[in-house]
């Protein structure tokens, strides 16, 4: 009976994984297709990679996306951390509940609404004060910060709540002024949460197609916008090559993250071992 069930389980897991990964594998294989028509196999070749490396608009999109992602992640982390601190550490202030609700609203708001409302904002701002003169890097970055900071704030809030206030109290008790407590105790302890928040904001920004499409202007294409607009004219082998490179990039990032986590786990275990040895 157990065997039957585990057989069923194995089947389900295999099917699920296959469903997830076969398309990606196909994508990778087709990126090496010699033929210009994607569904027709014409033998192995790397010609689409060289096409890709020569197309300037792809590189522009990549660099625009990365720039937006980095600036967005940095600002979102700073603002999100401050928002989280305000929610957890400043006690009760007027409008705290409203502030908390507004902080997480972008997490549940449909992206088209966020995108549309931001577009309306930018257009009316342009008419009233003449800024932003044209939509592109600045507008996309601002739009991304508005929703990424909500994710960061949630991560930071969870971590702060879990940490408790005793260490901050201990620092105050030892004579540290509140600002020193923030820089010397709270922020170092929040660092892992802030790194996680930064990475999340970075990926969210790289991923985003909908909001960026709303608030971008002529000539400013992020990578997702570029890929999507090309695909609309039909499947293209050079886009397959681009996607393959992105998959490789993500895989490397995940591997590095796993390695770091593994080493942290090792360090914690070692610390505990040392402490236990002393007791004996």
């Amino acid at each position: 009976m157990y065997n039957k069930r585990s057989g069923f389980l194995t089947f389900m897991v295999t099917a699920g994984l296959a469903f997830l990964y076969i398309p990606m594998i196909l994508l990778v294989i087709y990126s090496f297709n010699k033929s210009k028509l994607v569904p027709v196999w014409g033998g192995w070749s790397t010609r689409w990679y060289s096409v890709l490396f020569q197309s300037e608009d792809v590189w522009e999109a990549v660099s625009l996306s990365l720039k937006i992602a980095v600036v967005n992640a940095t600002f979102a982390t700073i603002l999100g951390t401050l928002a989280g601190l305000a929610m957890v550490r400043f006690g009760r202030f007027r409008g705290r509940t409203l502030f908390g609700g507004m902080l997480v609203a972008p997490l549940v708001m449909p992206e088209v609404i966020t995108g549309l409302s931001l577009l309306v904002l930018f257009i009316s701002l342009n008419q009233i004060i003449g800024w932003p003169a044209e939509r592109g890097f600045t507008t996309i970055t601002i739009a991304h910060i508005t929703f990424s900071l909500a994710y960061v704030a949630v991560i930071i809030q969870a971590r702060l709540t879990g940490m408790g206030e005793t260490l901050e109290e201990a620092a105050l008790d030892l004579g540290a002024k509140p600002f020193r407590v923030l820089t010397d105790i709270t922020v170092p302890r929040l660092a892992p949460g802030m790194v996680a928040g930064w990475l999340l904001a970075f990926t969210l920004s790289l991923d985003d197609l909908v909001i960026a499409s709303f608030v971008t202007g002529p000539g400013a294409n992020t990578l997702p916008i570029l890929i999507f607009s090309r695909i609309r004219l039909g499947l293209r082998p050079d886009i397959n090559a681009l996607a393959t490179i992105i998959i490789l990039f993500v895989a490397i990032c995940v591997a590095i993250a796993a390695l770091i986590m593994y080493q942290q786990q090792k360090r914690i275990e070692r610390d505990e071992q040392i402490a236990n040895q002393e007791v004996l």
Binding site: T166, L167, E169, A170, A171, L172, D173, L174, G175, A176, K177, P178, R180, D184, I185, P188, R189, I268, D271, E272, I274, A275, N276, E278, V279
Partner: protein
């Protein structure tokens, strides 16, 4: 050190002594819940004062008000003559050792201890010296490069103590400093703590729910219940002269019986109880016929298989119901005729094997106690 205590050792008896900490009518409410209820207390320079009480009675809350983490709902706290109402924690002359130690996990032992000195802008080489000295005092000089996670519970506790001591505060607040230690280590550390307090000579306020710890450590004890002080006094006063049933029962154990005063003179009192007549050799200003309680400590009751030579007060007889062997002493549960159980403890001076007059289960025994042993309680 022998002989009569001098006035400086018992400043609370000295009319002219100026208290170091003055707690005046302090109340702390959390919403409608009263955690500390109208407490008055004076603590003097150099004391090791214990706050003793059951879980949730408001000990930590009182300590946190001294440290400045909670503001009293009403009342006033003076430290060294200065009103603390508007003084934030980082400007108070106090340091606290937290119940959970609260060591900074991202700093080494050395950095943890140096943290407080850095805030005071002490020059670097002086910091190094003072950290070195204090770590030597708590015997942790070999561990200064370790992180707190790499230390055992007892070592962490000593780091926390060093960190609070190194700033040489006028007042050190300790919240259950030894709760995380095992019994043996705890006893050893109790003496160390008392030693350190003598060496550095600063005022300690220690919170504990362990009465033995309070008895060993302190110059004076305040027994707390439900946010109020039940009694304040030296360990001997609290143990030998409790003022209420709560204190008599909380500190050590006691057989408590209810009774009526039948005779009340300047030098003695007679109380009629279901333990028979009890004669107490000191006066009490109570009305005859009023309801009182008498407490007798188990170790102050004598136990004998022979009937007393002459009948009188302070006597009872019963059967051995149960015996608990505790190693150095045994505890006997004696059932009287009216089914009341009286606890008696007696030292085990003789090894059981060689005992001739050994008392065992179901034996008929006679109880007796001195006229000075029974304690009269009015509430």
């Amino acid at each position: 050190m022998a002989g009569e205590p001098t006035a400086s050792e018992t400043p609370w008896l000295d009319q002219d002594a100026k208290p170091f900490i003055c707690i005046k009518g302090v109340t702390k409410k959390f919403g409608e819940f009263i955690a500390v209820n109208n407490v008055d207390l004076d603590i003097y320079q150099g004391e090791l004062f214990c706050l003793l009480g059951g879980s949730g009675c408001g000990k930590t809350t009182l300590l946190r008000m001294l440290a400045g983490f909670e503001t009293p709902t009403s009342g006033q706290i003076l430290i060294d003559g200065i009103d603390m109402s508007n003084v934030p924690p980082y400007e108070r002359p106090t340091n606290m050792m937290f119940q959970s130690y609260a060591l900074f996990p991202h700093m080494t032992v050395e950095k943890n201890v140096a943290f407080g000195l850095k805030q005071d802008k002490v020059p670097n080489d002086e910091i190094t010296d003072r950290v070195h000295d204090i770590l030597k005092l708590v015997e942790l000089q070999d561990f200064k490069k370790r992180k707190p996670q790499q230390l055992s519970g007892g070592q962490r506790q000593r780091v926390a103590l060093a960190r609070a001591l190194v700033k040489e505060p006028k007042l050190l607040l300790l919240d259950e400093p030894l709760a995380a230690l095992d019994k043996k280590l705890r006893e050893q550390t109790q003496f160390e703590l008392a030693n350190i307090q003598e060496q550095v000579g600063i005022t300690f306020v220690v919170v504990t729910h362990d009465q033995e710890e309070a008895m060993t450590l302190s110059s004076r004890i305040a027994v707390m219940d439900k946010g109020q002080f039940m009694q304040t006094g030296t360990p001997t006063e609290i143990y030998e002269f409790p003022e209420s049933r709560f204190v008599a029962d909380f500190i050590g154990s006691a057989n408590i019986v209810e009774g009526k005063i039948t005779e009340d003179n300047a030098d003695h009192v007679r109380v009629s109880t279901d333990l028979g007549e009890i004669y107490i050799d000191h006066g009490q200003s109570t009305k005859e016929g009023s309801r009182v309680w008498v407490a007798i400590r188990p170790e102050k009751v004598h136990l004998s298989k022979k009937p007393p030579s002459k009948k009188g007060p302070n006597q009872a007889e019963g059967m051995v119901d149960d015996i608990g062997y505790l190693g150095n002493t045994s505890i006997y549960k004696i059932r009287l005729k009216n089914d009341r159980i009286i606890d008696v403890t007696a030292p085990n001076q003789i090894r059981p094997k060689s005992r001739t007059h050994q008392i065992t289960w179901e034996d008929k025994v006679y109880l007796g106690w001195d006229a000075s042993s029974a304690m009269l309680l009015k509430k």
